[in-house]
Point group: C2
């Protein structure tokens, strides 16, 4: 049954009632359903070149200067977790989205939606944490907004940040730059943020051991660009993990990817926690890691530089861009077989960021 209700301009809701009459958690999970919602609902209507890039942020030119502009809302639960809290996450997340456009982040906005009854001391902790994160990242929080909603119409605190940065002339980051032979680098051990949140939420014993990797990556990116301008793609694998990030790039570039399971950096604790929780680490959110795709002849130099930075010391080359299976990510597993790494289809980890 097609949805026959027409609203405004005679435009029919592009998600038929037979599929989803109501929004479900997975529409915000960063996987296939999120993707469909964004494509059909938002991109189809807010139609413009910048949005179509489907980058972590919009890139536009004013005068002779290119800018990156990005936003994210944070609804993570719990708001305090090992390794961070919703405050530093909100600052780091937007700093990272801007950095992934090749831009130097400068200014951040902060919009708070606070639930009535939220502890003033907790708000204070969040504020101090944002202050500290902004200081570390070298950005300024320059404008903001505070709303309060009735008790039971929120969940402690939600924070939106938006940010703006400038892109140096010589830098050009886009999924469409990928070429066959390019190397894929990940900047460190994966899945720590997601596992830290899940452990905290479930009260698991890993809680004390596994910390979120929440961190601002602009310093690392800056160092990488000191070595070369020839970086084709940067992406921070947040919701949906490295699998969703790689799939998005593969689809956008219409090239294939081959990754090697044995090269993907991960701690033993995270591996164990994932097994216990029944989670695939490839789909788990990171908040202080990046993926870089760049020409093979630069890869070792950039890798070396990355490893000098505290946030990149476990960087590794995990794969390459290939001719085969365009739009698809294939993983060579530990036992030597190959399998398709799909985009996350449902909601693996709700409210992870």
């Amino acid at each position: 049954m097609q949805n026959k209700i027409t609203i405004n301009d005679g435009l029919v809701c592009p998600i038929p009632k037979s599929e989803y009459e109501k929004v479900v958690m997975a529409h915000g999970g960063g996987g296939t359903l999120s993707n469909q919602l964004i494509q059909k609902m938002f991109l189809s209507q807010f139609d413009n070149e910048m949005l179509q890039q489907e980058h972590d942020g919009a890139i536009f030119k004013i005068g002779n200067q290119r800018f990156a502009f990005s936003t994210d809302s944070y609804v993570v639960n719990p708001i305090f977790f090992p390794g961070g809290d919703i405050g530093d996450l909100a600052v780091n997340g937007t700093v990272n989205d801007i950095s992934m456009c090749g831009a130097k982040p400068l200014y951040i906005s902060a919009g708070f939606i606070i639930e009535e009854g939220f502890e003033m001391d907790d708000l204070w902790r969040v504020v101090l944490s944002m202050k500290e994160a902004a200081k570390k990242a070298g950005v300024q929080i320059v404008t903001g907004d505070t709303k309060v909603v009735d008790h039971g119409k929120g969940d402690k605190i939600y924070i939106n940040t938006a940010g703006i940065g400038v892109i140096p002339d010589e830098i050009n980051i886009s999924a469409e730059n990928c070429s066959v032979g390019d190397k894929i680098i990940v900047s460190g051990r994966i899945a720590e943020h997601g596992v830290a949140i899940m452990s905290a939420r479930e009260g698991l014993e890993f809680e004390s051991q596994i910390k979120s990797d929440s961190a601002a990556l602009n310093g690392l990116v800056e160092n990488m660009f000191k070595v070369t301008n020839q970086i084709h793609v940067l992406r921070d694998p947040t919701r949906g993990g490295i699998s969703s990030a790689l799939n998005e790039i593969a689809q956008k570039s219409n090239l294939g990817m081959l990754i090697h399971q044995d090269t993907i950096p991960m701690t033993e604790q995270v591996k164990a926690a994932c097994e216990l929780l029944g989670l695939d680490p490839l789909y788990i959110a990171n908040e202080g890691k990046l993926i870089a795709i760049l020409p093979a002849n630069n890869a070792d130099t950039v890798l070396e530089e990355m490893r000098k930075h505290p946030l990149g010391k476990n960087s590794a080359i995990i794969g390459e861009i290939v001719n085969e299976n365009p739009g698809t990510v294939i993983m060579e597993t530990l036992i030597g077989s190959k399998r398709v790494v799909d985009m996350l289809s449902g909601e693996q980890l709700p409210r992870i960021c």
Copy 2:
């Protein structure tokens, strides 16, 4: 009893437990309590010159170009109301905040926090409404984010927008520019947004008659600047109404204001609704009105120009900047007496925008 808990850096929560242990609705109401929360919690920590301006947006320079950057979250209830919905409100609100900095708004971000179970058709209506509002205002929605929260942890949909605009060289808007003798103009009939929302919420009979004034004011502002660059202050009197907006400017400029009740434009329906609801229209939100403060010798020319624009046709001079009572707004009432118009102290109208 002082709050003795110290957190992080040894900084004590600046709002003592004896005052407010928890956040209350009025902390988001746009009045005195909001102001205190913002001052003590946010401005004290996110300390920088731009934030200290306490403008509707931040103003900064990159290269030789000045920019305005602003954000607002929208939590209005109900989300559909006479004259608009949360979608156009979210676009218009940020367009207006940027315009009030004297800037031409260009690009907008949209962050959605959707409650699980929200009707897909309602989301579609909101999206189409945002699209239409952006088109009317001549801005592009270039980047976004979608989060879904559990049923009962939100209220249908909250939308954050942030936006960026460029400020022409010759324009300089700041509360500190106010001078004694300056005229105060309001661009039309006040209190319509707030009364429309309250009527819709309470199911009052006015519902059909009183419509929100939600509109983008950048076109009107552009026309005003065609007449003169000598406009000292622009402000859109949203939460807290014209009273809060004028008080903020009076305090920031440390000058007095005298306004004349008989000159304030308002419809008979809004007057009647306010009487019935026990509301003071001076404290009620507007979403398509601006206050301009400018030299007396320009006031009539600018007023004339404003009245030519559909959104300014009921513009009026409602008062002037005076030497007496610095930091205070005084109103000459209909019966000729004078009274202080305070900043809204509590929460008159929760979730009005």
